[in-house]
Structures are given as structure tokens and as C-alpha cells.
Symmetry: none
Subunit: 291 residues, 2 copies
DNA sequence: TTACGTTTGTATTTTTTGTTACAGAATTGC
DNA sequence: GCAATTCTGTAACAAAAAATACAAACGTAA
């Protein structure tokens, strides 16, 4: 038994009669769940009659519909691999969640969005969605991960996205090419890093539009930024929290994706195709390399 | 409708009667496929009678078994759909980066912590705080940024922290040295990456303790993990959200920092001194290279 | 156009499945 | 230790789903 009913169906598509093919395509469009419904529901969704479904299944070589479903479940099982939770014996215990830290995170998030000027977000999104501009992303010691994360997403929905990684000296190489048409997105929270500030100022001097995501105390980069999104970062811990930063980054990503959904969808599909065609495993763009 | 029947069942485990609990455990052990079989098969697999299954389902609040199955299928559907296929039903009109999205982020965060077994977090923290163990962090296409972020912090408060970056083939070099004394922290959300799963399994085979941070549908890595922290990731966007993942990562970081505050403080001071003495600007550990 | 084979849907039958009633077993409280 | 309550499985019942028979529709070739 080879593991791929989908493929078999797709391959044998022209063996079927006209209506049977309708059934097949409906199934492929919603695989495998449509096949796990009842015959009647399947038939209804495909716009054919029940017997057609049965004949379709029979032609695939199954003695009956239940056998067909058994096969679907079998394949699903392999795909999902049951999550064996060995600790479910643990009775729920105290609901806890009284975790002060967690509470603070939630509050930060709420506060952040409450005070975030919607207009600023929209403008920021439009800026990032404009494909005529090249986008550069820069983060600090800890926020570098966020710049990286945002770059990974933006790169999917648009071209011309660069994450500035590694040593400060390497950034300078990119600075040369930057101009008024470009955008620099900076993540910078306390303690503000001198190198970041320096770089942002240099970029601004070249006419680059700067967008800043920072904490409520505002990185000095704000002085030369066209767009500033202040975010709550304080938590009961020696560290500052990046959770709200991540949230804001995701709002921006979602915004850009939607701002030009046509383009986003096309690119996503193309990438998906590439991924499937080329190496199903894990290309993991090694990121930085785009220098 | 909150997206997590599994969680609800796990939480309400002690509301059930003895045999009903047997049914629940069987279902959790083989979720969600066992629930898609017939009542009789379900009952048989759980070693109870059919009516017990029906009573179990009824206690969960479903009017009948078919309705229960419909819910399972619904959740499965969301889990299986590629980002593109997921409905974009952004509440009409507004920017798409507006409040619906933000609200969902806040809700996700709250829900995540509500369902996170405090005990699991504590155990996870103790594991990570144990300096005799070497800690390896691994993430997927987007979650790599989180692994990186967590590594950057952990590295400050303890030694022996490795972030597995770049190509999958490079990870294997590290696999050689890993053993029962070590910990592998995996970030993996849908769509789960085959490479990650493979690596985690290989590590587990060598006796490595695996801790997993995943979405509520559970990466297959869960099967071989000692600690699993499920997190809410669904948002009204073609992407999944990493905000709650970031939050959980920060809870862990804060926990480890506090677990051995003496050591953490010392190391932080020492690092500060180094930073000031050597290069006040920005060393930005180029991360990966620590091998 | 007509005749024949194929394809398709309606209506019916048969089988399976979910559901419920009830009585025996286990547990709890007094 | 006994009674009341709760829990659990057997068995009968009702609902549904799958399978089938058959006739109408369609297409094709003479």
C-alpha cells in the first residue's frame, strides 16, 4: 500500500466518467476531510448523486465506502502521528495562571495596542507594502531575532527585503546603496545600542525613511524616524519583554500581506510550488546571505 | 468557539467517571482519529462499553456522537489547511491590522497561559536551569527566530547553550555529541517540518531529554518529548502568530534566571564588565558560531 | 434519425450505527 | 454493615447510512 491516495486519484483522473471526475476533484479540493463525511454529504458537496460517489470509490478499487474511509483515516494517522501525552494523568491541579509574569505580558499587550495610534500603523504598513521601496530591517542584541522574524515573513509577500545581520561593519556595505526610496525598519529597546543609533542616523542622512519600533521611553532613533511605534516591554524580571514587540511586528506583517493580497497570494503559491517541487524537506533560507 | 478540544478534555479529566476517563485517555492517546471511528470501535479501543462513550461525549456537552465528530473534523480541517487556504475573513473594511487582530493576540496570550500546566513550566525551567546539562535550541522556518532569541538570553545566565542554526546537515554535527545529560528545546508549529521531527527523534534515540513548544494541535515531536508546552497561534491572517510562543519563551527565560539568581547575577555582571571594558558598542554575538 | 451502449439519478432495500431502557455492579454516606 | 446513590454494561430499539435495482437521460455510430 503506497501512501498516496491523492496522487493516485490525480493520476487516474481521466479514467473516471464526467460526474465521477467532479467527485474526484471535490475530494482533492478538500482532502481528505470530504471523504470522511457521509456519502450523502460528499455527494452534495460535489454536486452529484450518492451512487456516483459509490461508483467513484468502487472504481478506485475499494469494496465499499467504509473501506475507503478506513484508508483515508490510515493515511491521516500517519500524517498526524498521535501526540502521545504521557503526562495527561496529571490532574489539572491548581489552575495557577496567577503567574504575575504572564499577567504582566497580557497587560503589556493590551496597553500597547490601546496606545498605538492606528494611523501610524496604517502608514507604516503602506510604507512596507510599497514594492518600489527596498526594505531593510535592523535589530539589536535581543531584538535582532524580531528583525529576522519579520524579514522572513515579508520576504514571502514581497521582494526587496533585507535583514541586516552580523557585525556592524557589515551593515555599512549596505548603507552605500540606500537612498530616499528605501525604508529602514529599526527595532531598538533599552538599553539602546550606540551602533544602531549611529547607523539609523547615517541612513536618515541619506534620505532613507526610518520606521522605529521601540519601548515607551523611546530610543534616540526616534528623533530621526518618520514613524514610531512605542511598545510596552516592562516585566517583573531583569529582562525586558519582546512579546509585545513580536505582536506589533505581526500586526505589520498581516497588514502588508493584506494590503496587497493579490501579490501576496501569488508569491505564496509560487513559493509553495517551489518548495514542493524542489526539496520537500527544509530549505531554511540561510537568511543573512543576501548581502 | 475555542480551538482546542484536546485541552478541554485534558483539563476536565477529573470531572469524568472512572471508565469515562479511560475513554478520554484513549482518545487523547490517539487524537483525534479514534474519535472519528464508530462508537463501537472507540469503545473497544478504550476497553469500555459503547454507552460509556456516549456518556463521555454527552458530558463534554455534545448533544450526540455525530456532533462530536463534526467538531473533530472541524478542528482537523483547520490543522490541515495550508496558510493560503485558511480563511482570510478579516473583519471587513478596516486596515486589517486593526483591533480584531490585536484582540486575538491578547486572547491567545491569555488562553495560552490559562491552559499551560504550571507544573510543566516549572519542570521545564528546572531542566533548563540545570547547568550540568547542555542545552540545544532548534526552530523551524519562522520559529528559528525564537530559538535564537531564547538562546541569546539563556547564554547570558548559564553556560552550555547552543542554538542550532543554518542547514539541517549542520545540525547533525552537533547530534554526535548529544546524550542523556543534554536537553533539546524544539519550537515547532504547523506546518510541522519533517527535518525538525527527524532530528528530534534522532536526538531522543540518543537519550536526549526533549522539551517542545508547539501549537495546540501538537507537532509530532510531542510523541518523543518529555515536556510539551502547547501554545495558541491562530490569528485572522494567513500566518500563524508567534506572539504567544515568544511569551512562553520569556516565561521560561525569566524562570531560569530566577531559578538560580546568584549565578545569573554574577554572569550578568561579568558580561557587563567585559562589554564596557572591551567594546562599548555592540559585540552582537554572531550567534551560530559558538561551536 | 434511430438503435445501442453508457452514464446518471431516484427510489428502495439492507446493513450498520447511534441511542435508550433497564438491571446488575460498584461506590459512597450514614 | 446496610441503604441509597451512582456508575456501568447488556440488550433491544430507532435512526442513519451504505448499497442496490431500475429507469430516465445522454451520447455515439450506423
Amino acid at each position: 500500500m503506497d501512501q498516496a491516495l491523492v496522487e493516485e486519484i490525480r493520476e487516474r483522473l481521466d479514467e473516471f466518467t464526467t460526474t465521477e471526475r467532479r467527485a474526484a476533484q471535490a475530494l482533492l479540493a478538500n482532502f481528505p476531510l470530504l471523504g470522511l463525511q457521509t456519502v450523502a454529504q460528499f455527494a452534495d458537496a460535489a454536486g452529484v448523486s450518492s451512487p456516483t460517489i459509490l461508483r467513484f470509490v468502487a472504481r478506485l478499487g475499494f469494496p465499499g465506502f467504509p473501506e475507503f474511509q478506513r484508508r483515508l483515516k490510515f493515511e491521516l494517522e500517519n500524517q498526524l502521528k498521535a501526540p502521545l501525552a504521557r503526562d495527561l494523568a496529571l490532574p489539572s491541579g491548581d489552575t495557577g495562571c496567577g503567574n504575575a509574569f504572564a499577567d504582566k505580558l497580557v497587560e503589556n499587550l493590551r496597553e500597547t495596542f490601546q496606545h498605538l495610534p492606528e494611523r501610524e500603523i496604517e502608514a507604516f504598513v503602506r510604507l512596507l507594502a510599497d514594492e518600489r521601496r527596498t526594505v531593510y530591517l535592523l535589530g539589536g542584541r535581543f531584538t535582532d531575532a524580531l528583525a529576522r522574524y519579520m524579514a522572513a515573513h515579508l520576504r514571502i509577500v514581497r521582494s526587496g527585503v533585507h535583514h541586516m545581520a552580523g557585525q556592524e561593519s557589515n551593515w555599512l556595505d549596505q548603507l552605500i546603496g540606500m537612498g530616499p526610496k528605501d525604508v529602514l525598519v529599526v527595532f531598538d529597546i533599552r538599553r539602546y545600542q550606540a551602533g544602531i543609533v549611529r547607523f539609523a542616523e547615517a541612513a536618515a542622512k541619506q534620505g532613507v525613511t526610518v520606521g522605529l519600533i521601540t519601548d515607551s521611553w523611546m530610543s534616540p532613533v526616534a528623533r530621526i524616524s518618520q514613524h514610531v511605534l512605542p511598545v510596552r516591554v516592562a516585566v517583573p524580571s531583569p529582562w525586558d519583554s519582546s512579546t509585545a514587540l513580536m505582536a506589533v511586528a505581526e500586526v505589520l506583517i498581516a497588514g502588508v500581506t493584506k494590503e496587497n493580497w493579490q501579490r501576496s497570494e501569488q508569491r505564496m503559491q509560487a513559493l509553495e510550488a517551489l518548495r514542493n517541487g524542489a526539496d520537500p524537506v527544509r530549505p531554511l533560507e540561510s537568511d543573512d546571505g543576501e548581502a
